[in-house]
Subunit: 310 residues, 4 copies
């Protein structure tokens, strides 16, 4: 039996100014600060019981330290480590608690250069009593929360000049399921939308057309409840003078979106609403051709400005 | 006592292909067809009891025949006619029923060239029995309606190279109230947002920077209930292959919007949600300077595309 | 020319425990505290530029001091005073500033016993700088607001054993427009839904079937943007252990509602979303018969609990 | 390795009047009719690619023929059959296509009397061309759909006087995961909320306090996108004169709901919005005590009617 991933866990970001980025992710976006450890701050969303889904570490420049994935159990973690070593992928073991709240973990670099972490266990610290919800299925009360606070981490979008190779590796070595993909008119693949948990897109892998670019993180998506929440978030960013990058709805995934960026680090958050879930054990990847989307990559896209005379 | 306007009434549009435009406004947008008279079709929205808020007439080219405004009563209509003639504005009287469902009316051209119609009375034909709502405060049942059917006409946006003169005339001669305005850095006025009813913007007058342009209609806005409705409308247009021009929220008026256009005539409809109402008898126009909006004309506006490396 | 009302202004409530009621109206509901004057606190909603739409005064028991209505101008205020005196209604003049932020006013008791105040002018104090919105058409920033903060006062519901007499007086003496009414099967009137501004229901007058009751205030409605907001408000009240009285949609007015009450005083707030507006100068009151609503007074009403066996 | 379930599949209902019930489930609720086979009609929701999530069969009385669950693959189906026979549960094999669109299946009665069906494979018939969506991740276009059409089957609520025994059996024999449960003050269990897929509640098992009742189906829940959709559905039922049983939000599961019933058969549909998903491999069941919910079983619940005098 093969080792198995459970889901996306967290993203570890680097920023040149910790306090400034914290004010974006905590105060503007509405993530909850869980713990500080020197120059690293751990955050989670209001519906998350686990220790963190994001960490911020002060560094020379804005960067991505790693993307973290949870295995279904401790055995799977060891089996992945063994499997990687057989394939010549260097694995570094990280002791329990090195990344706060987290059990033993492994870190490695994928063949095309993405830095990943796998872990099996994570603590579930209770919310501070005054922030705890009477709804026992919520980690935090809505009272006292930032009104636009998103619910939970949803997915990452990763850019890679070798996107096809990277996607294939995610399928072959990590057993990611392809939920959707999009092919250009020349047959080349523009994007592959993969799932570790099997129910929703967790890694959107996009072809970076500039071959000189190293692999990169385009954005981290957090889930919100409704289209209203997207407008509320856009309005709150407007009040704070923080840039936003559009409201609309992707044709791929059907997710409604608002993008916004930490002005300090340019790390981008997507507030994501809607979309669909896969529970079908025989799901066939949704195959988009360029011609399917030539009229519109996303719904609500601006096409032109015209006027009509009397 | 001066003559008084009650509200925006309707817009009379011309199109080179009546059936094609009808399929946009009735089938895609979800207005109800009320009556046909030769080459003119009259439509209204599902919350409208009055005969029509839009008419489509076949013509050589796409154009705007007139924008119709309702006076508070028949006396005001006559008084406006007298007043215009005193000012040298030519007035043409239109007999009752010439425009179907409508009482006597006057037509005239404003000094900067917009064609307006004033009327006092309009019939309120009942919806066909099978389309009538059990909610007696609705004209049409939601059952059998186009799911994205907007509620009622809200406003028009008019472009004019002499926008300042036109706005001034609307205030001086028609007693429009200024609800908001926006001045460029050089002190020139980009837009004036006026109300006939006194509660909401009904005429957005925008400076057309191309001096050679005749005055024109940029769009007609119809009201919908929620942000969800904007996404639903965008999705429905996507299904039909009809162009849309963005989802977002104006800073001015705070209206959330989706724009879409009749592919045949380029006449543009705004689906508009939210915004605010004025009930204050001492409302002071909201005065925007370019510097207030330099970061963003509208909320959700796309600013850039960036990515962060590992 | 008759004196004219512009709109509902405010409600002056009494409570046995000012701090406790303030914690409901300000902290739980999300109104903004504007000013304190001894044992009276003035509040307004986040979209309100005027000084207050609610005041709370400490008193022996929970009560209603008065309901305040704004006249279109200072002349109308005097004319109303003259008119009342001619009709034998005692009028008390209140000096400017006695009720903070407010110009000269008159207070009187309607023939069936409701205590009303009319005023013409109200100050528009700016929000504190840190609470001011970048959107110049909003009084307060959404950042820092209570996430469920309603927008503006909408209407009051008044109960009266002589409801028909009271409604008639509102029409005859104050020129309120009837927007809707509801008649019981025996022909008696259960409710009349009236407007001072002419655009929306501002006074719902309900027949109190207990003849021994003095006239009373059932609730004050504040406007919110969406159905989502109703659920958010209900959830926030749940977190605070504050009672709520249902979510649903009225057939009359089509307003979506959530009711909640100050646990200290039992004063009730309706969070109200949706509904419709009247701009029609020839609006005919919507006439409901009991038979129209016998299936359902409101949408979403609970009818029964049943189950089906295998 | 144990056999494994993938998810809830469908519910097979019986009704005394097929056409009448069809008009509820297809025309009023908005499910799509897929196929007819004599006195059985198969339906699915607009986001469902599989053949059906509901069937209606004409019968002497309203009843539930079975609740269908999908196994992860064909092997699991056989393994379940073997396992049941070892435990003395009678298994009936159903040939491929007997239930239209479905592969081989087994039917059996659980120890407390629920009739279940397990199947591994189901056809995915394309939507008729004119109903197909341009969004390749949707089964049906939103254009032409009933505006309130729900998305996909979500869960069933099953009542049982031996609810504890039934829940235990679901855990032990079928490996259902407990997502939440609720215990009465005397320690007895009122409800257990279980998942076959592991991500969301799919079987809510409720203690029927009347010991003489056979096990029964209380409702089938279908997912909708938003709170707005609940109000739209309630309004549409109002227009059709179809009973509804409340709008609100469960504390357990956090699902927002509207209940409505087929007037012919009393089969109940829940329109369900919101809630949360479990991706955590170490999820601990949410343990509700009666004292946690004594103030409110659901949010928006009506508590009283009070009024305050002047």
């Amino acid at each position: 039996m093969s080792p198995e991933l459970a889901r996306i866990g967290h993203v570890a970001l680097e920023t040149p100014d910790l306090e400034s980025s914290l004010s974006f992710f905590r105060d503007a976006v509405g993530l909850e600060e869980v713990e500080r450890d020197g120059t690293t701050v751990y955050l989670r969303a209001v519906d998350e019981f686990d220790h963190h889904s994001l960490s911020l570490t002060e560094a020379d420049r804005a960067g991505v330290d790693h993307v973290g994935w949870q295995t279904v159990n401790r055995e799977s973690l060891s089996e992945f480590a063994d499997q990687f070593e057989k394939r010549g992928v260097d694995v570094t073991w990280i002791e329990e608690g090195t990344e706060r709240g987290q059990g033993e973990a492994i870190r490695f670099t994928t063949p095309t250069g993405h830095r990943f972490e796998f872990f099996a266990e994570m603590e579930k610290p209770e919310a501070p009593e005054e922030r705890r919800s009477k709804l026992k299925n919520r980690a935090f009360s809505s009272v006292g929360s930032n009104p636009i606070a998103p619910r939970r981490i949803d997915h990452v979008q990763l850019w890679d000049p070798d996107a096809t190779e990277f996607s294939q590796w995610l399928k072959d070595e990590l057993d990611f399921q392809v939920q959707e993909y999009y092919d250009r008119e020349d047959g080349s693949r523009w994007g592959t939308f993969l799932s570790a948990c099997g129910n929703k897109i967790e890694a959107a892998v996009i072809d970076d057309e500039d071959e000189t670019h190293p692999p990169a993180l385009h954005h981290i998506a957090y889930k919100v409840d409704s289209a209203d929440d997207l407008f509320d978030a856009a309005g709150a960013m407007r009040e704070r003078g923080i840039p936003t990058d559009g409201i609309g709805q992707h044709s791929i995934s059907r997710g409604k979106f608002l993008y916004t960026r930490d002005p300090e680090s340019d790390h981008r958050i997507e507030f994501n609403a809607g979309g669909y879930l896969v529970f079908d054990p025989h799901w066939e990847p949704v195959a988009w051709q360029e011609s399917d989307l030539e009229d519109r990559q996303w719904i609500g896209q601006i096409e032109s400005k015209k006027r009509v005379e009397y």
